[in-house]
Symmetry: C2
Subunit: 613 residues, 2 copies
């Protein structure tokens, strides 16, 4: 955490100075904004928290409900989501408050007494080294709280406008949105509108798009319980297959709360779950039958719901029909464009990744750093990976509901798909912002199109052990991770190019008067022990002077963390002879892997979508 | 973090429910309290945060200044202090915000060019395994903030009363304290008064005690800087010995701020540093000369001060003259009873440990759990260890100021005293609350009288890797860590004794209607892998039912953390054949090590100071 750069300031450093550009929060929504976000769910709040970092962008977020969420809904937080939370600065608090999912246990009917369930397997939840973060579980309402705090403490001091129902959206030279609030109508003129308004999205309807897919005709119940049970794995994520149906145990934060997903009735072809009149008593009774011979004495049900499994997806996530060349101005994200079975624990996680993908692109276009064509990549990237998730999800849900799945098969499937469930399976195809794999062999563990996989390093200026990936904050900046080769010459050459050449992206795209790392945050990783590296010998670009005092930033140069045996060059397959330049997008995805000397390719990559400052 | 035990509650779980017993904060100080704390420094706030956990105790804390501290003063946070912060629930936030001291570098005059300093050594700051926490540096004002937040979020909703000057203290049947506030007088009647009012303590004067010691007649300057320098170790703790004098570099939180301690003038016998008229310009000029050939361009000086080194201590920390048998009612803590050179980084840390020692004792006596004789142990324990610190401190400061100390000797001394500097050198002698070392060989790494040294374990109910010591929260409870022997029989026997025997401390001292672990928090550590341990086979005391719903507490049983190679039995020398019972005080110090079967000794230990419920 870096602070005091522009002068000492007492108090909590997470509370940033309010920008003079920040418009004070008013009772009424503003008449004109750059971005209007519809919906204060995980997708909407991720986008709002991202845009709040830029007070020069006028953002407004509206929500139909009258205030923040208190309980219920999603709870699973994938490793990948934790990595993103780290970028927003609240991963540490989530780690402390959440329930960690460390192992998963599997239960099936006892072979001799099929009316009883017995444990037949146990696996580690997340494979070692998949992420520096665990898979955790926390009330969605708390995730909202952390985002809201981030927004409140940002230079924009952004606050949602609650109690707003979307009336309609009209696309003209701007996007005109009518809202209804307390019986009165409000109109907002926006350059961009993002619908994060859930599966029944009014924004989606306004652009004539539909969720398409199928229902498995299977009703499920979900309930959060405070209960007394002798089921021994009540604090493990447990998949219970019984003669009476299936059940999933999700232990919850605080050590006492538990969530049960309970398989209820098969539905008819056209039947809706609401028609069944399922009550919480039905859920509890079914859970008891499934968990037999174990007891379940329910003391409190803070929240419960019934739903039918359905995997549905929208074919495009913006207002531009396929094949048309104009730029999109309305986007949809999260449940508005894809819905899943809750049991893969993917809905909330995937939704947040949607808008983490969109946020930096909108910011770059609105701030004049990138051409509007960048916005086309949002739907192109996110729709494809959602389709992959839907396919996985469908298979997983089916397997979960079927009577005759071999438990071993079930467990194998579960293990195979660990990467998907952890949220690190997303792989973007080459595009404007994702390069071709021409030089992938220089860093085989930083796969182009996947998220930058952090590894431990040591900062040479103070010997602090840190995670390299945690340099990647949600600040809209690009990261250039330069891994030194056998000799330091090519890395020095890269620094010279970046600092001095007229082709240098740093020189072309960094606005005058801003810090040299305002757009491109260069970090170097050497192969020697940190004690063998002298900060005096580093190029100026790696010890840049910043802020109004021109103070040195000492956090740019790293060495391998030899103490813990994990050398980042080995862990991530970086070519020790040639080194590598790993270009990472503001949403933490690897955009490119290049030789350190590939100045032309580097310049060409950014010239593809960035605009000179 | 455990919550929702008495029912689901939305929002931040760190904000506890306000107790109906909590008196609302009023403009005026209350007329009658159980404990009046004088002074809102680290010592006072540690005590206030501890007592705030008990809303049945009426606590008031007053401070002469008009509001919370903003900057300056102490900044070093020892490993041991981090362990205590963990007990108060804010270690994680300090870790994120603070500067970590990872290595220390040593500089001396260049042999060929003595006017230039050169680096001649570098050591790791804290030896591996000394604590699960690093040594960090953070503005004292932020430490205050975290305590104030803890108090505000406690069941007592405790807030300080600022702007109160102590007029006098009179001891009658109660302690009568007169305060002056905005020109008016207020009187508080208190059962106990604790003076945490600094080196010029008015409370200390009121009980006729004095700080005794000497001054080294050496002026030092300290300044917090935002500066540009080419001194390469500006982000390391660096001890610079030069021909021009000595200097200590302490890098600070946020990545830019740095503190320099600068050796200034030798003072005459009766001379005070204030007489010298030393300005910040003098400090900067001296620092420049010492750091030659490196440059120092100062951009901002948020805080600076000059002081003379002095080690002084009070012979007793309460109002009872040595040899008299009555119970103490006025205590002093922190700088009020001992002052040090700031460079050992001990003043603030030691002060907080004073009141962490006193807090649980006051609470136990006021809540009727322990006899008032317990309070005698405060001065007896803390005065002795402060004297040890003073002795160390004097030697260290002298070495730091002397011209002719062999740098190798200096570095060796530094390394040897690492444990002291880390705050883990404190060793209480046998007393009412610290047992004899009769059975120490059963757990050689949990030394009776020293702080409980945490180690990694795995919780068997959910396979979560945790630090065993983090079970020890600042809640006034005793911890009983039962390490199983070769077979589980003796551990089961202990549980039976604790649950059933009329001699059981659990049965004797736990008030009716309270949770079974309200006074004694029993935890068991087995030798097997967690997958080999069945929660079903555990004694009920290890799976207790608690709160208004009678929910199981699943966080009592642990297995070694085999994954990280560190087995707690080996790390802490626990006898694998016999096992051991490690009794830990509410302030995290090991009170006793006993055989699991030593029921009589266990009962006798607690009978020595506890009162039946």
């Amino acid at each position: 955490m870096q602070f005091h750069q522009n002068g000492f300031r007492p108090g909590d450093p997470r509370v940033e100075d309010a920008s003079p550009l920040a418009a004070p929060h008013t009772e009424a929504v503003p008449a004109e904004v750059d971005v209007l976000i519809v919906g204060c769910g995980p997708a909407g709040l991720t986008l709002a928290a991202q845009l709040a970092a830029f007070p020069d962008i006028r953002t407004c977020i509206v929500e139909q409900k009258d205030g923040p969420l208190q309980l219920g809904q999603a709870d699973g937080i994938a490793c990948r989501t934790m990595e993103m939370f780290e970028a927003f600065g609240f991963a540490g608090r989530v780690l402390e408050e959440a329930c960690w999912i460390n192992e998963v246990t599997f239960w099936k009917p006892d072979a001799r007494e099929p009316a009883k369930v017995v444990r037949h397997g146990r696996v580690q939840d997340t494979e070692d080294g998949l992420s520096e973060f665990p898979h955790v579980v926390l009330n969605q309402a708390r995730v909202h709280d952390f985002y809201l705090e981030r927004m409140r403490h940002s230079p924009s001091r952004l606050e949602p406008h609650y109690g707003r129902r979307l009336v309609d959206v009209k696309i003209d030279d701007a996007v005109m949105v009518r809202l209804e609030h307390a019986g009165r109508e409000e109109t907002v003129r926006a350059r961009y509108v993002v619908g994060c308004d859930g599966a029944r999205s009014a924004v989606r309807k306004s652009i004539g798009r539909h969720l398409v897919g199928d229902s498995a005709n299977q009703a499920w119940g979900v309930m959060d319980l405070l209960a007394v049970t002798d089921f021994p794995d009540i604090r493990y994520k447990s998949a219970v297959q019984s003669a009476e149906g299936n059940l999933l145990v999700i232990p919850r934060e605080g050590g006492y709360l538990v969530r049960l997903y309970v398989e209820m009735d098969k539905l008819g072809e056209e039947e809706r779950v609401a028609d069944r009149g399922i009550t919480v008593e039905h859920l509890i009774a079914k859970a008891r039958r499934i968990l037999h011979p174990y007891t379940l004495e329910v003391k409190e049900v803070p929240w419960w719901s019934v739903y039918e499994i359905g995997q549905r997806i929208c074919d495009k996530y913006d207002d531009v029909p396929a094949g048309e060349a104009r730029q999109p101005r309305v986007f949809i994200a999260g449940d508005a464009c894809h819905t899943h079975s809750p049991k893969a624990g993917q809905g909330m996680n995937f939704s947040m990744q949607d808008t983490f993908n969109l946020g930096w692109k909108l910011a770059a276009v609105l701030r004049g750093q990138a051409a509007p064509a960048l916005l086309d990549t949002y739907s192109a990237e996110r729709q494809v990976v959602a389709q992959q998730l839907i396919d996985f999800d469908r298979e997983w849900a089916k397997m979960f509901s079927e009577r005759d799945v071999d438990p071993k098969e079930f467990q194998r499937y579960f293990e195979q798909h660990g990467r998907f469930t952890a949220g690190v399976g997303t792989h973007y195809r080459p595009s404007l912002v994702t390069g071709e794999a021409t030089h992938q062999q220089l860093a085989t563990g930083f796969v182009i199109g996947t998220r930058f996989h952090s590894a431990p390093v040591v900062r040479i200026t103070d010997a602090k052990p840190v995670q390299l990936g945690h340099a990647g904050k949600a600040d809209g900046r690009w990261r250039l991770y330069a891994f030194a080769g056998q000799d330091a010459a090519s890395l020095h050459g890269l620094c010279r190019f970046l600092a001095e050449s007229s082709d240098s992206p740093v020189r072309k795209y960094t606005p005058a008067g801003q810090d040299v790392d305002a757009i491109f945050d260069l970090r170097a990783i050497f192969q020697q022990d940190h004690r063998e590296l002298a900060i005096e010998a580093m190029p100026a670009l790696l010890l840049p002077r910043k802020g109004r005092h021109g103070l040195h930033d000492y956090e740019k140069v790293f060495a391998p963390d030899s103490k813990n045996g994990a050398d980042i060059f080995d862990l991530r397959g970086v070519d020790r002879k040639q080194g590598a330049l790993v270009v990472v997008r503001p949403d933490q995805y690897v955009a490119h892997v290049l030789p350190l000397a590939a100045q032309r390719e580097l310049a060409a990559f950014f010239a593809g979508f960035m605009l000179p400052a």
